[in-house]
Amino acid sequence: MHFADGEVTAILGPSGAGKSTLIRCINCLEAISGGDIVVNGKSVREKRAMLDIQKQTSMVFQHFNLYPHLTALQNITLAPIKVLRKNKADVEAQARGLLDMVGLASKGDRHPAELSGGEQQRVGICRALAMNPQHLLLDEVTSAIDPEMTAEVLRVIEELAGTGTTLILVTHEIEFARRIADKVAFMEGGKLVAHSDAETFFNHQSEERISRFVDKMKH
């Protein structure tokens, strides 16, 4: 399977299929037991390449995982300052820009506990984007949020599609995947079952099993 630069890939499949594990392996959060993943020519199997890969791939988590002791702004600026060793003032300016983009310009000084789920996740997206990653990994980013809050998060992701960042998103939002994905991967039982253009996947699906899954998820 190949993820081209700037492309949006949705990874679909039933629970336990290994979707999250796949993107956690790309981000070097989990060691792989077999095979290989290569990010910009560097293998995740190589210990020395880990930091480089983590700088190029940023993860947005299902449960947000914001740092509870830091403000929204500090959550965003921590890694760019400590890992990329960027100038604090520059990073803060960039972070304010990102918060503005996701509609949270006035909430930079709030702590995570003082934000709603949807707001926390948008901060989570800003935190990932502040690393200026080539590849953004989104792990079921809306599944822990109240339904009425998901729209605001999805809108942010939709705006990111087509900006040159490669998006790899694990999702259960079939309609959303249909709208923004260029490619769709379908996983089941730890294996890649199908990988094709979104158009082909949704409208000319040859596999009975996958069509049924997609139909079921629509409702």
Partner: protein, 229 residues
């Protein structure tokens, strides 16, 4: 027998010089025991088995033996194997080592409350193991551990009185001297009790102020929604 405070009050300067030593020893031991405690706590949950075992051994050793005996062992025992000892430094060392064992357990319980996902987030953006500890784990853990640590600090201040048994001229040491000089133990020790009380109240106040300053805003409510799953 008449109650008479005047012999004690006449020697108040001497008593207060003991107090200043008590304060100095307490501060040194609090800082040292905190630093060693954090170090031992992180070692206790290290990824290396040997480090974990050493830390656990240290904690068990100091928590399961009486402080007075530890103190005597260090002060009277070490010179016999050629290590000269001095009352104040040996006292500070013994206090710090014992208190550190307790502090380590408090800090470790704080570290164990840090949600896995938050640590993962730090790692995923490329923070080194040390940076994750410094900027993510410890601030969150210390918030939880701070009040129990405050209790430990108060306890430590009170325990400094035992150093008088190895000739340290702290508040208790000087009180003993005044008592045998004046034959007024009731008056002497009553005044000393009041002074200790004032010291520990001050320690508690400082602990609370530090909490209000650094930790209170962090999260009044339990954090990380959805993390319970």
């Amino acid at each position: 027998m008449r109650i008479d405070f005047s012999p004690v009050l006449a020697r108040l300067d001497y008593l207060l010089s003991g107090l200043s030593l008590t304060v100095m020893v307490s501060l040194a031991a609090i800082v040292l025991s905190f630093a060693i405690g954090v170090l031992v706590a992180t070692s206790r949950i290290s990824r290396y088995r040997t480090v974990r075992i050493l830390a656990a051994g240290y904690i068990d050793l100091f928590r399961n033996t009486p402080f007075l005996v530890q103190l005597f062992f260090l002060y009277f025992g070490l010179p016999e194997i050629g290590i000269p000892t001095e009352p104040v430094t040996t006292g500070i060392l013994a206090l710090s080592l014992t208190a550190a064992a307790g502090n380590a357990e408090i800090v470790r319980s704080g570290i164990e409350t840090v949600p896995r996902g938050v640590v993962e987030a730090g790692r995923s953006y490329g923070l080194s193991a040390l940076q994750v500890y410094r900027y993510v784990i410890l601030p969150i853990a210390l918030r939880v551990a701070w009040r129990p640590l405050g209790n430990a600090f108060v306890n430590l201040v009170l325990t400094t009185s035992i150093l008088s048994t190895i000739t340290v001229n702290d508040l208790t040491g000087n009180a003993n001297n005044i008592s045998s000089e004046t034959f007024k133990p009731f008056e002497v020790y009553l005044v000393v009790l009041v002074i200790y009380c004032a010291v520990t109240f001050t320690v508690s106040a400082v602990v609370n102020a530090v909490y209000a300053l650094f930790f209170a805003r962090m999260a009044e409510r339990p954090v990380i929604r959805g993390q319970a799953a």
